[in-house]
Symmetry: C2
Subunit: 328 residues, 2 copies
Amino acid sequence: MDLDVVFLGTAGSMPTAQRAPAALLVRRGGDRLLFDCAEGTQRQLLRSSVGLVDLPEIFLTHFHADHVLGLPGMLKTFSLRGRELPLEIYGPRGLVDLMSSLKRVVGKLSYELRLVELEPGDVVERDGYRLAAFAVAHGVSALGWSLIEATRPGRFDVAGADALGVPNGPERGRLQHGEAVTLADGAKITADQVVGPPRPGRKLVITGDTAPNETVVEAAWGAQVLVTEATFSEEERARARETMHQTAAQAADVAKRANVGLLALTHLSNRYFGPEIAREACEVFPETVVPRDFDVVEVPFEERGAPQLVKSGALHRREPEPVSSAPQ
Amino acid sequence: MDLDVVFLGTAGSMPTAQRAPAALLVRRGGDRLLFDCAEGTQRQLLRSSVGLVDLPEIFLTHFHADHVLGLPGMLKTFSLRGRELPLEIYGPRGLVDLMSSLKRVVGKLSYELRLVELEPGDVVERDGYRLAAFAVAHGVSALGWSLIEATRPGRFDVAGADALGVPNGPERGRLQHGEAVTLADGAKITADQVVGPPRPGRKLVITGDTAPNETVVEAAWGAQVLVTEATFSEEERARARETMHQTAAQAADVAKRANVGLLALTHLSNRYFGPEIAREACEVFPETVVPRDFDVVEVPFEERGAPQLVKSGALHRREPEPVSSAPQ
């Protein structure tokens, strides 16, 4: 089953010409989970290969303007399209209050909006995975999100089954599911003879905005991918502390201590272009990438290789960059 | 003095991959006047050659979500940059109420926000031009805006002045300003001997959303450029009536009856790409253009030629079009 993250917006607080503000789309099989919804997110989806699908659920990390101002327009667009499917929004304490203050600009919707406020430690169960909310340190009501897949059955040993005389039929399915089978010759075969130990699922952790914090190290422990913020570089460490953000080096230190597979940094201040943030983090934790908008991080099962960044530039159509031609 | 309109967002109600929702920037000399501020306008400015300048004033046509949802983010960005210059927002009745409902998401600003509610017939005076608010027909509190330049002095007849013996000095300036002068030889020269009749300034009219209406014909009378909406084509005429929008043919009929120089159509429904709207309008009024985002309409003084559309594609840098590459 495929699992990846589309970086729809990678700017911190203020957009730039290159980077839209915060939004991430997680795709797992047919599921589409949006994390944060900054101004312009509906159009970032339209401009991506994803398109503006009728997202069934949105997860918010916190309610600073640069993470939620895309909600009213997107909710409105869904309504103009005559959507009937309910939309669930999950977020920390304060979600109901936020949405009631946006009601005047959102207006009446064609579908039901379900608001779910969660606390750190709460879990949203899904088919094959769960989303666990954890505490981050941003000075406001805020949650990080950990997508944790269920343990997978062990690998089936085809050669071993052949050698034991297990026929190519439903017996193999039953063994794979942990049952024992009796063959035509009376031999009894148990699952552990042909099925390896259960294999762990994948873990993908998204923190939203946060200062370096032990709760993040704990939540991200052993994750294939940690997506976290690096609003600043070490030069601005004091400013990072003051605003409860973190530097690239601090984020890398968290990733190192959490023993993650890949660190993906986002929410860059408009001071930075990206490479300087990557350089700083890589000195502490070499497996770091700094995606640009529309880049994708793929998260394969462990036995199929390491997570990797796929640049959107790799497969793009070339189209004119808008630059108006009249005098300034 | 240059005068042009940068089309920052040309979509109606729902954005598309190609078109952002409503925003227009009028540039006249050093002045920058933003008309409407849909979601993503701050980033459309960043992506244009204009950049996100500290706009001193914003003019709103009405308060539907697809015309105002870019305000909170833009106001916030100005504040994060430490802006001190007050910002004036002009709009129809209901502006104060709208901004108070957005207060929670906007938060505290570093500068003063001045809200000015106007009625049809009200005028905002500027150096060398005025902005006159006029009634449109959209079923809600709404205003169109007419930028009307002051009359210019007549053309100075250099050859005539030479023939009359007017020296190349301050006398010519006084004559240009309408005064009479007495030459060294005692001859008295009056302004009308060397200065032609006063020349009209330019008129640029922006309606925002509206059904076809006589108030628009009147306000747009003789304008160099009329920027109005063509949300629909004639096929959707009933839908246009129902929603108080207009079709391309109806907009063209207004332009024809108002005897304007150029008609620029915007606010297209996402059903349309542009050329079909242009074709329909051109059958009624051939001097019609349908700008795309970042296109510019230049409005020269009458004696220097007709207004024209400058495609943003004409001078663009080529940059990758974002298309994420991972499986959908």
